[in-house]
Symmetry: C2
Subunit: 223 residues, 2 copies
Amino acid sequence: MALAVKGQKLPGGNLLGVSDDLRALPLRERKKLRTRRTLAETALRLFTERGYDATTLDDLCDAVEVSKRTFFRNYRSKEDVALASDSDLWSTYLDHVAALKLDGPLLAVLRTALDTTLGAMDPDWDRRFLATRELSDGVPALQAHSLGYCHDTTGAIVRTVTERSGADVDGVRLRLTVEIFVAAWHTASLHWTAQGGRGGRDGLTKLVEETFAKIPDALTCSA
Amino acid sequence: MALAVKGQKLPGGNLLGVSDDLRALPLRERKKLRTRRTLAETALRLFTERGYDATTLDDLCDAVEVSKRTFFRNYRSKEDVALASDSDLWSTYLDHVAALKLDGPLLAVLRTALDTTLGAMDPDWDRRFLATRELSDGVPALQAHSLGYCHDTTGAIVRTVTERSGADVDGVRLRLTVEIFVAAWHTASLHWTAQGGRGGRDGLTKLVEETFAKIPDALTCSA
DNA sequence: GGGGACAGTGCCACTGAGTGGCATTAGCTG
DNA sequence: CAGCTAATGCCACTCAGTGGCACTGTCCCC
């Protein structure tokens, strides 16, 4: 993985999500972009159809007609290409957090940033993300890798916020806040996936909202 | 990984942590146990001394004088043997949760179970756990794998609690509670590791307590 | 106490992920 | 058109992880 949130530092952060009117790029770049995207799309399809373990990278490379070497110039690992939609989400999210004014309760700010991030994703992102989640459910290696993304993002958020609001904040409390944010996100996205992605990103946004609303109750409720 | 919390279903759950007066076992079992423990100890030492990536399983097997095949009969993967102390912790924790009466606020119950679990670990566990955490810091694959353990444990707790308190609980709220518990644990253990494991398990227990106390504040604090 | 039964082990060959090196191609630039 | 360079393809390699089979040290029962 190696702190994959910032992703492979290829041209620019989020290469799949952004709906490209990128006809305006040098041909070489365009080609590379297309290869990268085709790899992710084909991978998701093959993994879903035939199973993750049953699909080798050679299979994928055959299907896309690139060499394995080229695959690894585009993605760090087999897990990485399967989790492209995760990477898209978190890299976009980080951008949003970095460009935000930090007033009011931090937890609310983080949630707001998530709302706008979800709204800003590529139209096709919902579908890809759902497929990715369903795939990850059955593949521990993907689960773990995906959690790794979240964890890296958590660290990055803490760093960003610390830089921007001075060193006078309680580091532990800050970390705790961000971890709780991630906890709520996990809960919400799990719920959304269990419902088969009902309502697309709007449904997901709604579940996020509801989940955050339940936090106070969750702290005090009995079993 | 494959839901490694319950670990390899070898003889019995936690094989390293429990302080053995296990001279009372059949010889065969004892031998196997010793091999298993030696593997974990040697692995942790080699990984720390030479680096995780720089140490191959062949190196480890040479040092312990077993075949690679035998290694894989004891541990699922290279990550698994490095994270033996994590596995010990969570499998013990699950036992404690399963044997607990569920009265009062769930979050407090989970925290109490953590206290008693930490107290019940092998005398050597502190050192191993700290070494494991420091190792994981520099190795993304271990980070991810470790998060996977937590995640599996989260699921197991939710299942256990659901079974024992009837189906009338709000599944999402329950999940959220457990996720928040894990969030606090992550924060506390990170802090403990950053302090070089100061105070051993008692220090860790204290940090856990302090971190939980900060939760209400973390929900409302501003950046 | 001797002799099967069998769990646990060693050995060997194999697959598949991931890397390094070098020659080749294809897009950019003057 | 010619030269430059980024991107690719190809080949050989390491290492994690698996399957199969022969072997051996324990256990257990007579």
